[in-house]
């Protein structure tokens, strides 16, 4: 691990084709990352994130995130699914080719229920999954944060705060100090090649 340490030296080089994009601080417990997130939030940062191997209870509040919008997407999809089912059945079994089966009129609402229900669920599930990936802008295989070797433990047992250099509040020294005060075990600057 140590051999891959970029640390202080990299940012000073700024060799022209590389520029710093992220400040990455590592923490070793949920409590520390939680308090660090609260501090970063209170310092007024906006372009930053917390990276954890599993979702931490209450972290959304600690980061000051607004509520997820996903529910609206799912609700819209559910309505779409329900209406498509009704429309489909009505067109097929009532308009285009009416069938009287089992003494039931072509449009008998109870027998519509199963298919209408299933399609509502199906569309909602599509909404939930693809909506979630959409809001999260995934898949995104290329991200500067992956340049950090240490970040591999973000999916194992370490917790990270990343602050974008573009954040209006960002100041190399002060931000680093803020994270150090929050008991970060390691801090590094991640650079990306300028395209």
């Amino acid at each position: 691990m140590a051999s891959h340490d970029h640390d202080h030296d990299n940012e000073k080089k700024s060799a022209g084709e590389k520029k710093p994009v992220l400040l990455l601080a590592e923490f070793d417990s949920t409590a520390k990352i939680f308090h660090a997130a609260e501090k970063v939030r209170d310092a007024g940062f906006t372009r930053w994130d917390v990276h954890t191997p599993f979702p931490i209870h209450g972290m959304d509040g600690a980061m000051g995130l607004p509520d997820s919008r996903l529910g609206w997407i799912v609700a819209a999809m559910a309505l779409t699914g329900f209406c498509s089912a009704l429309g489909m059945i009505y067109y097929m079994n009532v308009v285009d080719y009416p069938l009287i089966i089992g003494g039931k009129p072509p449009w008998s609402i109870p027998s519509v229920a199963p298919v209408a229900f299933e399609l509502t669920i199906l569309f909602s599930a599509f909404g939930a999954v693809f909506g979630m990936f959409g809001i999260n802008r995934l898949p995104r295989h290329h991200h500067p944060i992956f340049f950090s070797q240490r970040f591999e433990r973000a999916t194992d047992d370490r917790f990270f705060v990343s602050i974008e250099v573009d954040d209006p509040k960002y100041d190399e020294k002060k931000t680093r100090k803020l994270l150090e005060d929050a008991h970060a075990t390691h801090i590094e600057v991640i650079e990306e090649e300028v395209v």
Binding site: H57, G58, G71, G102, P110, S111, A113
Partner: protein, 467 residues
């Protein structure tokens, strides 16, 4: 005298001068008023009263048993989130002895229900009003004579096809009923009722005693004991509630049957129980009695459960309707027939169950925000409680046919008498009587015990619960 306030923890018990301290007296007064009305009803029209009382009683009984189910489920699942609110459920459960006392008038009224109008006459159905049992009322004899009259009507001239059909159906109907006479044997019936009452009374007493006892003893073993009793308790409850619902509700249409019926009753009871717990919990919270032990997170979860159980209720009720509708077998469709075609006045009530008990609460309570806004949650709970009462009205009252004798009379008398809902002042006084007496006991218990299970080992975890 009054307890010193305990930080933000709430007072945890009802102080002697707060509004809740006299709630039981108000409930008792309402109950007494209702009971007076019930007495008046009994004197004027015992048959009508029988249906009113059964409807009111069943609405509250299922609510009470629902809270008992809730408590037992919490022990089975070793739930921690619900510890704070569990005591509220235990108060409602603790009121079951009052319901047992309120059960007793049903025995005096039972002869007016269709199943006992049939089986109460023993074998000589319809012909003569035989005094099969001691408590024969004058009104009872009348029905017997009318039914007999109905049968003889065809004797003079050649019977019409309609009459022949009716008579043929009646014979089949009669034969079917003969085959299950054993179930309506009086002795067997009373033994069953005794078992139900014993099981409900004993379980509610036991869980209440254990839980409130733990407040003082602080014995963690009590938690284990309750968890151990829970599985067989739920089995007993499921069976007794099912058969009680068969005896008193399903049998109102003596030839009708549905295997899922007990489940629908159970599901509806749970919905009502959750609604009652939410409303009571909010009331206690507002009065500052339970502090943070029951907070928005718990109400959110209760709202979820109410929503979930309501979906389950809709699911089982729809399953019952759907399969009967689809197969369209006359001996099964009679149940929905009575609530739709036979008397169209019931159609809006039937629809209201679909719309106001399910569709609108479903959409309304789906949102997380609604479940976390106490006023809106309370609105949902009130709606579901009202609809619970409507459901029981819908289950019981269509079987009330003034002066008639069950399905046979409905067929032969034609429909002219049945185009309005049989609403009566007795419905209201019965609700007041049963509700008042039951809630008086519930509220009285609240003044005597801690409002949350203060010594439950999972209480601390419950307080930190969040969604």
């Amino acid at each position: 005298m009054s307890a010193t306030s305990h930080k933000s923890e709430g007072k945890l018990e009802i102080d002697s001068n707060g509004p809740w301290s006299s709630a039981w007296k108000i409930a008792a007064a309402v109950g007494a008023l209702g009971l007076a009305g019930v007495g008046a009803g009994f004197a004027s029209d015992p048959k009508r009263l029988a249906f009113s009382y059964l409807f009111a009683f069943m609405a509250f009984l299922t609510l009470g048993i629902g809270t008992l189910f809730f408590v037992v489920i919490q022990h089975i699942s070793a739930a921690h989130w619900s510890v704070g609110i569990r005591r509220t459920a235990e108060f409602f459960m603790g009121g079951i002895p009052a319901l047992i006392v309120l059960f007793l008038p049903l025995f005096a009224l039972m002869q007016h229900f269709p199943q006992w109008e049939h089986y109460g006459h023993a074998s000589s159905h319809g012909a003569t009003a035989q005094a099969g049992h001691g408590a024969q009322q004058a009104g009872h004899g009348e029905h017997g004579q009318q039914a007999g009259h109905g049968e003889q009507a065809g004797h003079g001239e050649r019977p019409s096809l309609h009459e022949l059909e009716t008579r043929g159906l009646h014979n089949v109907h009669h034969q079917t009923l003969e085959k299950k006479k054993l179930w309506f044997d009086k002795t067997f019936f009373f033994i069953r009722q005794a078992i139900y009452l014993f099981v409900w009374g004993w379980l509610s007493w036991r869980f209440f005693k254990l839980s409130t006892g733990q407040d003082k003893s602080k014995d963690k073993k009590v938690t284990v004991a309750m968890a151990r009793s829970a599985p067989w308790s739920i089995a007993l409850l499921a069976l007794t509630l099912t058969f009680a619902s068969f005896d008193w509700l399903m049998a109102l249409e003596p030839a009708w049957y549905s295997t899922i019926f007990g489940v629908t009753i159970f599901a509806g009871g749970l919905v009502a129980a959750m609604a009652a717990l939410i409303l009571t919990g909010l009331g206690l919270k507002k009065a500052g009695y339970i502090g943070d032990a029951v907070n928005i997170e718990h109400f959110h979860d209760m709202g979820k459960l109410m929503f979930g159980f309501n979906c389950f209720w809709a699911y089982v009720c729809f399953s019952q309707f759907f399969l009967i509708w689809y197969a369209s077998i006359p001996e099964e469709t009679v149940f929905y027939h009575a609530r739709w075609n036979e008397n169209p006045a019931w159609q809006p009530v039937t629809m209201s169950l679909a719309v106001l008990h399910f569709a609108i609460p479903f959409v309304f309570l789906m949102s997380r925000n609604v479940k976390r806004r106490m006023n809106l949650l309370a609105l949902g709970a009130i709606t579901l409680l009202v609809m619970h009462v409507v459901e029981y009205y819908w289950l019981v009252l269509p079987m009330f046919k003034a002066g008639a004798h069950g399905a046979q009379a409905a067929a032969s008398h034609g429909a002219e008498a049945h185009h309005s809902l049989p609403v009566s002042w007795m419905d209201l006084v019965s609700l007041l009587a049963v509700g008042g007496v039951y809630l008086a006991m519930v509220f009285k218990l609240m003044t005597q015990h801690k409002l949350i299970p203060v010594s439950d080992p999972r209480l601390e975890r419950s307080k930190h619960h969040s969604n």
